[in-house]
């Protein structure tokens, strides 16, 4: 049961931007993007490189601030919060909005600590409780069986796919409601990719997942909604099946049929 985006009711919308425009110095990265995103669904953002997908994603948890020359206009609303308001508790925002990056970024510590660090920081968990949270997160990320005996080892010793799942477990341990994934599979082999895709579908049962991907098959496989970006503009946004089978825009059709991009 997937309603078209324009039929979404207000209470179904978890993340929403309105006329979002972003500049990096003189370069305009996003132009007037208005995009409502539905609760507990997988929404894929596709488009050629440099089209603003990642920028859009990073506006949602304010990870863009560190880039010199960043400026934005328009409105962003994430889980009833405005990330760009002075009064927003960014720590709270980032607790509720988790993120997975393109390259696995295990932190320089043990596997256990990688998963535990967020739960420790946000919930002050210790000892048994923390162990449980770590185990659950690792199980959810389908990594527990592989690492349960080597929790004290440095996380860097894991393989790339394992590292990426570790990053997902790390994010799950702080119990986010919205999950942002920035090309989570582009550095992984097909088997690892498959496992992460399964994971996304599983996560979407109780999380809102927004995934940036270059892989259109992936978008078609896992997402309920797909948004197509080009040159910083939102070209088309629809239910995935609809968008991939009968795109309304010429540009979308050209892109998904592989004529460019």
């Amino acid at each position: 049961m997937v309603e078209p985006p324009n039929a979404l009711r207000a209470e179904q919308i978890v993340v929403e931007t309105h006329a979002l425009t972003v500049f990096y110095g003189d370069t305009q990265a996003l132009k007037n993007v208005s995009l409502p995103i539905a609760r507990n669904r997988v929404t894929a953002l596709i488009g050629p490189s440099g089209c603003g997908k990642s920028t859009f994603l990073r506006c949602l948890n304010r990870l863009n601030d560190r880039i010199p020359g960043f400026r934005m206009q328009g409105k962003v609303r994430v889980l009833e919060m405005d990330p760009y308001s002075k009064h927003t508790d960014l720590i709270e925002l980032r607790r509720r909005v988790g993120m997975v990056f393109q390259k696995p970024t295990p932190l320089p510590m043990s596997i256990y600590d990688n998963v535990a660090i967020g739960a420790r920081s946000h919930y002050g968990l210790r000892g048994k409780q923390l162990d449980e949270v770590v185990e659950q997160a690792l199980q959810r990320a389908a990594l527990w069986d592989e690492v349960k005996d080597i929790l004290k080892r440095p996380a860097l010793q894991l393989s790339g796919g394992q590292q990426q799942r570790l990053c997902i477990a790390r994010m799950l341990a702080v119990e986010p409601e919205v999950i942002l994934m920035d090309e989570p599979c582009s550095a992984l082999d097909p088997v690892s990719t498959f496992r992460i895709e399964e994971l996304m579908i599983d996560l979407a049962k109780d999380h809102t997942v927004i995934v940036v991907t270059h892989n259109m098959q992936q978008a078609a496989r896992v997402s309920h909604y797909t948004a197509f970006f080009m040159y910083g503009e939102l070209v088309e946004y629809d239910v995935s099946k609809q968008l991939f089978l009968s795109p309304k825009q010429k540009a979308t059709e050209d892109y998904i049929s592989g004529r460019f991009g």
Binding site: I91, L107, S121
Partner: protein, 491 residues
């Protein structure tokens, strides 16, 4: 173009070889010159005297020519090497007027029949020996006719700065022969265990000049215990650096320990400050602040150390003395602590600058991960960025330590210049030695190299010090390199 590239490659290659060869040549030169340290000959000196039996017990051998014997073999005591002080021994007649007892030495005598009573070799300057050889001095003792007490004493004590326990020999004082008709147990005294002492003897009075040669014959023998090489090495590991004594001591431990202690102390001060500066520069400071602060920091790193030393001498030392002098019982503001503080000033910019580079090399993605996870700024710094840069930070500290370890000028100006062993037996004594005058390895080389005899033993020991310093800094630097190599954090 390709030929130019080849030329460039060749140049780089040759430069590399030249630098390596230069380092090896330097090492060879220092090692070769330090062999002079092992050409040392060992001297010893003992003063023996016959003392009258009723003398109070505090009487010790004195240096009056007829009454005591000094047998020394000091080496290299400027121009005295060839000198041999020979006195005509007093006749019986003379002795009745001047002194009642005589001990006379005949270092040349190898057997008892050659002992002569008419010449007194008070000093024997000419035969310092390698540790393998050892020496032997025979001493003849008798009383003059005027002497009426039933006993006389043979007393002995080491000469001036000679310390028997440091000798490479076993030193023995023994009775070789007693005069006819005198009954006495033969004795043999280990002078290393009993460096000073006296022993009672039945009086033997020489009535005629001929009877003098029948007196007591004692022997002081230096029996070799080890080779010159090992004796020198043992001396080097001693706890006293006093190369200008008549019996010089070349123990490098106080110097090495002082340098090590001041380096550790300096790095204990410099590490937190340097790392904090780097963290501020790399993670906190606004880019515009960083833009001028980083060059300023590197500018401080390039301040000549003599200027830093002078600054320490004019400001820090008096300030420290005025502020803490009383409380800590400081003799002077020039001490180990002051030196460490200024060394820390030298090290901070180095540590900060290298650490900043290391922190900059920590990938942005790691910081973003931490931030995206909702960690706050200090958690990101302490739990993620710093651990990721850990190896590099350790390397930065070691690079600073190597620089500090070899620093000469600051230590020369501020250490106070007394080579003393730091005390480790109690915390208070240790703290006390941290605020007392000291002296390190590099400044000792700098101070003494200027007025040392070329290719002398002292000269060799200075090179040996240089070798030790060279090795220690190389070890620290290699450790820095090794640990630093682990830094590259791949994500």
């Amino acid at each position: 173009m390709r030929r130019l590239g080849r030329l460039f490659d060749t140049t780089v290659y040759i430069t590399g070889i030249m630098v390596s060869v230069a380092v090896l040549v330097m090492f060879y030169y220092i090692a070769r010159e330090s062999t002079y340290a092992f050409r040392q000959t060992f001297s010893w000196g003992y003063r023996l005297a016959l003392l009258p039996g009723d003398a109070d017990s505090s009487a010790t051998p004195n240096s009056a020519p007829y009454s005591s014997l000094v047998a020394v073999n000091p080496e290299g005591a400027d121009g005295l090497d060839e000198k041999e002080e020979v006195f005509p021994a007093p006749t019986i007649q003379q002795m009745q007027d001047e002194s009642a007892l005589v001990a006379t030495a005949t270092p040349l005598a190898s057997d008892l029949s050659q002992i002569r009573a008419d010449t007194l070799y008070r000093d024997d300057w000419r035969s310092p020996k390698p540790a393998e050889e050892g020496t032997r001095v025979l001493v003849l003792g008798y009383a003059a006719p005027g002497y009426s007490l039933p006993t006389m004493y043979l007393a002995w004590e080491p000469d001036h700065s000679f310390e028997p326990r440091l000798a490479s020999y076993r030193l023995v004082l023994r009775l070789l022969r007693a005069p006819e008709g005198v009954s006495i147990q033969p004795f043999e005294i280990d002078l290393r265990k009993q460096p000073t002492g006296r022993i009672a003897l039945p009086t033997w009075v020489a009535q005629t000049d001929a009877e003098r040669t029948q007196g007591y014959v004692f022997e002081v023998a230096a029996i070799p215990q080890t080779s010159t090489f090992w004796a020198t090495l043992r001396g080097v590991l001693g706890t006293e650096w006093a190369p200008t004594l008549i019996y010089p001591r070349y123990g490098i431990l106080p110097l090495v320990l002082a340098t090590t202690l001041m380096s550790i102390l300096a790095m204990l001060i410099a590490t937190p400050l340097g790392v904090a500066t780097a963290l501020y520069l790399s993670e906190v400071a606004h880019p515009r602040v960083r833009e001028w602060l980083k060059p300023a920091l590197e500018l401080i790193a390039s301040v000549p150390s003599v200027v830093l030393g002078y600054f320490g001498l004019m400001f820090v030392a008096p300030a420290l003395q005025a502020w803490l002098g009383q409380a800590l019982g400081m003799q002077s503001g020039r001490n180990l602590l002051t030196t460490s503080i200024i060394l820390a000033v030298l090290a901070i910019p180095i540590v900060a600058s290298v650490t900043e580079d290391v922190l900059k090399a920590v990938p942005e993605s790691l910081r973003e991960s931490a931030i995206a996870l909702g960690l706050n700024h200090s958690e990101t710094l302490w739990k993620v960025v710093l651990p990721a840069a850990r190896a590099g930070v350790v390397a930065a500290v070691l690079i600073g330590a190597a620089r500090v370890y070899g620093e000469t000028m600051i230590v020369w100006i501020l250490s106070g210049g007394t080579a003393t062993m730091p005390a480790f037996h109690s915390p208070v004594a240790f703290a006390q030695s941290l605020v007392s005058s000291t002296r390190g390895v590099p400044d000792t080389i700098a101070i003494e190299m200027g007025n040392v005899t070329f290719e002398s033993v002292h000269y060799g020991h200075l090179f040996l010090l240089g070798l030790v310093l060279f090795c220690l800094t190389v070890v620290v630097n290699l450790a820095a390199l090794r640990i630093g190599r682990r830094q590259v954090w791949r994500v």
